[in-house]
């Protein structure tokens, strides 16, 4: 069954143009772009429709919208403190965009744009460059003392400074690889195990049960990864604001 169908577990990650055929150019509207637009639209609808009433006693949608707002506001005040309030919009946007991207990817026949490294790397590079500019703007040349561990003897500097610089440069890599690898691995695993259901006949119940369990796990990971991305952005902003 599986060999005749020719469905590769990686087929779900293929980027193809929507509403048109042929090569993908610079301005081609692809399924990835479609899902991003959909995610943005859904987030806007979720927040605008949720807060439309603005009731003192919130309804279902309004309390969901307020909950997501308060979750990120709490995260920022926990990690950065009061001066982190200014960066609420960017962190909230990143969190909601990644969360909705992950969750939309869980729908059958949809496309997970966070499973592509270029998307996650663009987001991580945005955070990295923004935080670096923030730190330089706030501290000027003092920013470069960031790379010198305090209290280290000068003889150790030639060894420690490259290590610190590599450590700093590895931030966008770890931020993007973490999100992309989790989504890619999870979705591939789901497809591979789902492929066994038809082949095994009656015993296909076992992989079916596994797929149900893994789907739950994937939804948890969708939330966790968005949370991890948001909290690391907060930590980086905190580092940039309070150098040692």
């Amino acid at each position: 069954m599986a060999e005749s169908g020719g469905h590769s577990p990686l087929e779900q990650f293929v980027i193809k143009p929507v509403l048109a055929t042929g090569e993908i150019g610079v301005l081609t509207f692809t399924n990835s772009a479609l899902m991003m637009v959909l995610a943005t639209g859904l987030i806007s609808a979720f927040l605008i429709l949720g807060m439309r009433r603005g009731a003192l006693v919130p309804g279902r949608m309004q309390s969901l919208a307020e909950m997501s707002y308060e979750f990120i506001a709490g995260l920022i005040s926990d990690t950065v403190g009061a001066e982190g309030r200014r960066y609420f919009p960017i962190i909230f946007t990143l969190f909601m965009f990644i969360l909705f991207g992950n969750l939309l990817g869980m729908l059958p026949y949809s496309f997970t744009f966070t499973s592509h490294i270029i998307v996650t790397f663009a987001l991580a590079a945005l955070v990295f460059i923004g935080v670096t500019i923030l730190a330089i703007a706030k501290h000027g040349m003092h920013f470069f003392s960031f790379f010198v561990p305090p209290g280290a003897p000068i003889a150790m500097w030639p060894l420690l400074i490259p290590i610190e610089v590599i450590s700093y440069l590895s931030r966008p890599i770890s931020l993007s690889v973490r999100l992309f690898a989790n989504m890619l691995a999870g979705h591939t695993l789901l497809k591979v195990i789902a492929g066994f259901i038809g082949v095994l006949g009656v015993f296909g119940v076992l992989p079916l049960a596994l797929v149900v369990a893994l789907t739950g796990l994937e939804i948890l990971i969708a939330f966790l990864q968005a949370y991890v991305f948001a909290i690391l952005t907060c930590l980086y902003i905190n580092d940039a604001l309070h150098l040692h």
Partner: protein, 118 residues
């Protein structure tokens, strides 16, 4: 009698409310900690690999540029590995972000930290 009645009952109610609040907070903190623990575990896995990638990339391109074939690659591979271990050490040790020792120093200054990192 009529005046006495409301005072103790209000106090009791307050006590009960406080107990309920504390209980709720405790359970809430427990579930939150579990989520945070999972998120924490996800963070450290990638740290070593990403620092190694950066180290190797720097070494490779320096070699390409200066024509010193294996030497910078070897050097920066080791530096990248060291940076990766340092990242993990910092995350696990709760020293804030990845670069710098700010939080650890503040903690020492506050007198809370017991062990300075070596």
């Amino acid at each position: 009698m009529k005046d006495d009645q409301p005072l103790p009952s209000l106090e009791k109610l307050d006590e009960k409310l406080r107990a309920a609040e504390a209980k709720r907070r405790k359970t809430k903190a427990g579930s939150e900690d579990r989520g945070k623990g999972l998120a924490f575990a996800m963070r450290i896995g990638v740290e070593i690999v990403s620092a190694l990638i950066v180290g190797v990339a720097i070494g490779y391109f320096l070699d390409q540029w200066l024509g010193t074939k294996p030497w910078f690659l070897l050097l920066f591979f080791v530096l990248g590995a060291a940076a990766g271990f340092m990242n993990v050490f910092r995350v696990v040790g709760g020293l804030g972000g990845q670069v710098g020792y700010g939080r650890a120093k503040n903690r020492d200054a506050a007198g809370e930290g017991q062990d300075k990192d070596g």
